[in-house]
């Protein structure tokens, strides 16, 4: 089982009251409220935390990327990936993920990722995402072509990694006369690709068709099971049996040395009014063309204030009751995580330990307890449940490298 640590790297030193008054904190909330002195301090605290985490036995770091918002300081996940490639030795560097549609030049991305893979000596997991609605607007990219750009950029990055250069690419959204990067990944055929997501069916289907593990981001147990069900159906259609090695989960869990402190810090998971990506403006987070047509009616009503966000905004109490937010000492947390593992059976597990205004000291305590007590217990239990991760299983990096594809049974004539 692969267990990894995650933090959004929150820009906690921003005036939350002004953000609340403004009504949204992603995209248009002025960066006049961004204090680079605090930013510098926070980046360095996070950096120290990763180094400390590896010392405490953490085996993987999940990194992400967002733009124009205080809830996440990683404006480029490749930057911290490169830093970790240099300052850590053993932990996997798991990008979940590079927002492919934001890249005007996917070949450049392929170069950067190859560099990270080589410098880290083959520890990169190169996940890809579509990027949030705000991300498209912040980067000047049309949301209407989001899915097409995602798929073509993915194909181009993989080609840059695996096809002998120089070659030419005349695609729909990307055209390159000379693809011949002098930076190719160390891992062969290429670094593993994991696909995180929440709602979108198209993403789940696409991931299953590639045979890329799907990482459910903090979804409820019921929703997670529906995701696996869909993934498994598609896997069967393309000829393989999906299982734990295709499944990952991200869990908000804060561990501390007392229940009271743990609860106090766990409430910080809702520091952005419970929005997954900060206090989101309904129009900016769901631009036209971005969401699946099946959600159109819901999103247009949400955009004009007539309906609740289809993503939902349950209270802290509800999220705790649903098992989406877990907190406590290792003694109380481990059984709760066991329960989620039993129910959802992923082999990849991200523990999102710290958010918002959790102090550096409390964050480090959480990291220590996760690394030394919680994660080892999870890995043990994962072994008991047979949750073999893609590394342990030597799973094919992509469907085309499979050795176990079954032909679909033909209907009787």
């Amino acid at each position: 089982m692969h267990v990894m640590y995650f933090t959004e790297q929150p820009m906690s030193a921003y005036p939350a009251d002004i953000g609340l008054e403004f009504g949204a904190t992603a995209l248009m909330f002025s960066n006049k409220y961004y204090d680079p002195v605090a930013g510098s301090r926070l980046y360095n605290e996070y950096l120290e935390q990763y180094i400390y985490a590896e010392e405490m036995g953490v085996e993987g770091f999940m990194l992400n990327e967002h733009h124009n918002a205080p809830f996440c300081m990683q404006a480029k996940c490749n930057i911290f990936a490169a830093i970790l490639a240099a300052v850590t030795k053993k932990a996997k560097i798991v990008l979940l993920g590079n927002p492919l549609p934001l890249a005007e030049n996917p070949v450049r991305l392929a170069e950067e990722l190859a560099m990270i893979d080589m410098i880290s000596r083959g520890r990169l997991v190169s996940g890809f995402v579509r990027g949030g609605g705000q991300e498209q607007l912040a980067n000047g990219v049309s949301p209407a072509y989001n899915r097409e750009r995602f798929e073509e950029a993915h194909d181009l990055v993989v080609a840059a990694w695996t096809r002998q250069g120089p070659f030419r690419w005349e695609g729909t959204h990307y055209q390159h006369r000379v693809v011949n990067p002098w930076a190719v990944p160390l891992q062969k055929p290429y670094p593993r690709v994991w696909i995180p997501g929440v709602l979108s069916k198209e993403t789940i289907i696409w991931a299953a068709k590639q045979r890329y593990p799907y990482i459910a981001l903090n979804t409820s147990i019921e929703a997670t099971k529906s995701i696996w069900k869909l993934y498994d159906e598609v896997a069967r259609e393309v000829g393989y049996e999906a299982g734990p090695q295709n499944r990952g989960y991200l869990q908000q869990v804060h561990v501390s040395d007392s229940e009271e402190k743990a609860e106090k810090n766990a409430r910080q998971f809702l520091w952005m009014q419970g929005e997954f990506t900060g206090l989101a403006h309904p129009v900016w987070s769901n631009p036209a063309g971005y969401f699946s047509p099946e959600f159109r009616r819901q999103f247009v009503e949400f955009a004009v204030g007539r309906a609740e966000s289809p993503r939902g905004r349950p209270t802290f109490e509800k999220q705790v009751a649903d098992g989406r937010v877990i907190y406590g000492t290792p003694k109380t947390v481990i059984p709760k995580l066991r329960h989620v593992l039993e129910e959802t059976r992923p082999s990849i597990y991200g523990l999102w330990g710290n958010d918002g205004n959790v102090s550096n000291e409390d964050a480090r305590t959480c990291i220590r307890l996760l690394g030394q007590e919680v994660m080892p217990a999870m890995r043990e239990y994962g072994k008991e449940l047979g949750l073999t991760d893609p590394f342990e299983a030597d799973a094919p990096v992509h469907l085309r490298y499979s050795k176990d594809i079954k032909q679909m049974p033909q209907a009787a004539e």
């Binding site: 248009m28 607007l137 000047g140 049309s142 949301p143 209407a144 072509y145 309904p282 129009v283 900016w284 631009p287 036209a288 063309g289 159109r296 009616r297 999103f299 247009v300 009503e301 955009a303 004009v304 204030g305 007539r306």
Partner: protein, 261 residues
């Protein structure tokens, strides 16, 4: 208002896709190009024109009831589709009346076939970078706020759209998605169009609402300066959507202009 104007509505195949085309009236052909927010089926402005001319109102490809061509990439593509439609309909010298976004399409059409049109009318037209100010960005405002921003008097908005239904919101979203497909950046204008307007031989009328919050008046002034035979008119007490807010005044101006020798 012309009561009971007899509109025919049919699908016409152009460039591999079905275009929804409404038509009424007789006489000189007037090709009306709707806003970026689509168009209601019935408008006083359309009826008024149809009482004097043969009025054709297509839904832009991908908007309203017209099929979306997946390959469509620019407003210039739409203009070419419409030249194709006009030639299939056997119309040789139409007058073009472009409303807002439709004005950009009309201007592009005019530059493509400078002698093949009778008159060019641009009403609050997008298509050129305003020398002063920016065109309001749809991406930043809700469907409701954007539609409302096109009106000087919100009572006029209510007369047209009533209590906006979810179906209307869905239609606006589909239109907005098309705008993001073909007019994303530069947003709502062409960097090259101003250099091509000098070739338009037909007389042109550029009309602006005195309270247009969507396209700055400076864009209209640019159009009027660049088109060789242009006149600039202001309609009082109107926002961007003059056709919906001041239909009578606009119809009088436009009809008079098209009919004059």
């Amino acid at each position: 208002m012309a009561m009971g104007t007899d509109w025919t509505r049919r699908e016409v195949e152009v460039a591999g896709g079905k275009l929804h085309v409404a038509r009424a009236g007789s006489g000189r052909s007037v090709f009306v190009l709707h806003h970026d927010t689509g168009t209601p089926d019935q408008l006083e402005f359309y009826d008024a024109l149809a009482s004097r001319f043969d009025v054709i109102v297509p839904h832009h490809p991908g908007y309203g009831k017209s099929e979306r061509p997946q390959w469509l990439r620019s407003v210039r593509d739409v203009a070419v589709i419409y030249q194709w439609l006009l030639s299939d309909l056997g119309i040789e010298r139409a007058s073009l009346v472009g409303l807002g976004f439709g004005g950009w399409i009309a201007a592009e059409m005019a530059t493509m076939a400078p002698t093949a049109l009778h008159r060019l009318v641009l009403v609050g037209a997008m298509g050129v970078k305003p020398p002063d100010g920016d065109i309001l960005d749809q991406a930043i405002v809700s469907y409701l706020d954007y539609a409302r921003a096109g009106f000087h008097d919100q009572a006029a908005f209510a007369r047209i759209y009533g209590d906006v239904s979810t179906d209307q919101l869905v239609d606006w979203d589909i239109c907005r998605e098309m705008c993001f497909r073909i007019a994303w950046k530069p947003y709502m204008y062409s960097q090259t169009l101003p250099h091509l307007l000098g070739g338009v031989k037909a007389p042109a009328l550029v009309v602006w609402g005195d309270n247009d919050n969507i396209v700055p008046r400076s864009a209209g002034e640019l159009y009027a300066a660049a088109l060789p035979k242009a006149r600039f008119e202001i309609v009082r007490a109107s926002g961007h959507c003059i056709d919906m807010e001041q239909p009578e005044a606009l119809a009088r101006l436009v009809s008079g202009f098209i009919a004059e020798n």
